[in-house]
Symmetry: none
Subunit: 223 residues, 2 copies
Amino acid sequence: MPVILVVDDEEDIRQILSYNLKKEGYHVIEASQGDEALYQINRKKPDLILLDVMMPGMDGIEVCEVLKSNPDNSSILICFLTSRSEDYSQIAGLDAGADDYITKPIKPKVLISRVNALLRRREDSVVEMKLTRGIEINREKYIVEKDGNKIRLPRKEFELLALLASRPDCVFKREIILEKVWGNDVIVGDRTIDVHIRKLRTKVGENHIKTVKGVGYKFISNQ
Amino acid sequence: MPVILVVDDEEDIRQILSYNLKKEGYHVIEASQGDEALYQINRKKPDLILLDVMMPGMDGIEVCEVLKSNPDNSSILICFLTSRSEDYSQIAGLDAGADDYITKPIKPKVLISRVNALLRRREDSVVEMKLTRGIEINREKYIVEKDGNKIRLPRKEFELLALLASRPDCVFKREIILEKVWGNDVIVGDRTIDVHIRKLRTKVGENHIKTVKGVGYKFISNQ
DNA sequence: AAGAAATCATTAAATTTTTATGAAAGTTTA
DNA sequence: TAAACTTTCATAAAAATTTAATGATTTCTT
């Protein structure tokens, strides 16, 4: 289940949001201030952040900027919480980093449908993906481009790469990889993953996939 | 989901358009100048382009002309963005290449309904389709022309070709093919698809339809 | 720090899956 | 009913996937 971080200085609001999200089955963590939010993000990378714009101290926009300055966090969705009174121009201006915004007062139904939509959309938006140093994955075309050259990958290899690349710099445990790429019911030996990783490395580049011994593999975005 | 390219030199406008389109679920890419737009089009062929007429450097009309000079791009829809002040004669003049236009200031609701309408209309208008290297599909006549020669295809073969060609280079999974060409209720074996593909290949050309093992087939546009 | 244990890397070979193809058997259409 | 169209079947071919075997590396123990 996706992890959602709720950031708002008012405890009442945090509770209402948190309650409703949990009821939907999401794993919710909270922060009451900007810096606390950044701390939480570091500790447990959320899938989505509901971020209040107006907060004492570091406001939502600053948090967003700091957050997005780290490419590790590029896949985190951000949804601002704004008061209706804050004018649209401002919201449009800060839109750069955000994926959506919800105006207060927040109705539970609106909240849930927006959150669901955002997370659902994220799944689909992995159709095309630009990765560092000219690696591009296109799900529709089932093609990976490296420095402009098209690389044709067999299905399993493609799925594996797409999975790893869906969250760059995050480690995927072997069990997770098996579950996502091979399916829960299929039983294959552990060496199978290695072999596929091997093939990917020769095709996509040796230093794009890093192994984390005892855990799994990750796709390296930068450097 | 369809891909929409937003071309406008003002960042604010790009953002507002982008935001609203994304909210609808479209995949949006942006360009701030004419040549950047052409670059983007080359990189990822969009379904629709929202194209500002007045831009410094290469203006919208030029972009449109360059675009349309390449038959590969004939299926891309173009919607101009114009100021109310720009006189209609000019707009009428450039109408040739464009499918629609929206006058600024742009209201989100108008934007969305126009965009939806355009894309919906396109679905139906796959009546005739020019494809690379002189392959042309005419839905009304159930006829395919290759290098000027008319090829008469049986219904199923035609539907299959039309489906694959509707999104060149995109893979159609076997299940999707079955659903679209044969219908959800009809039960036919997987070999049936192969056989039809083979017949198409012998008639239309071996290297126009490519198989993606384990996934499905795709129509190759170029080369 | 040395040795043992666990975990990965790598290659080649074996196996399985998936598709191509020709021919034939049904089906529909004119 | 013949002709055209669809579908199935059987077999060949190709490609993808998995296993197995061996070497390398890291981690853990003592």
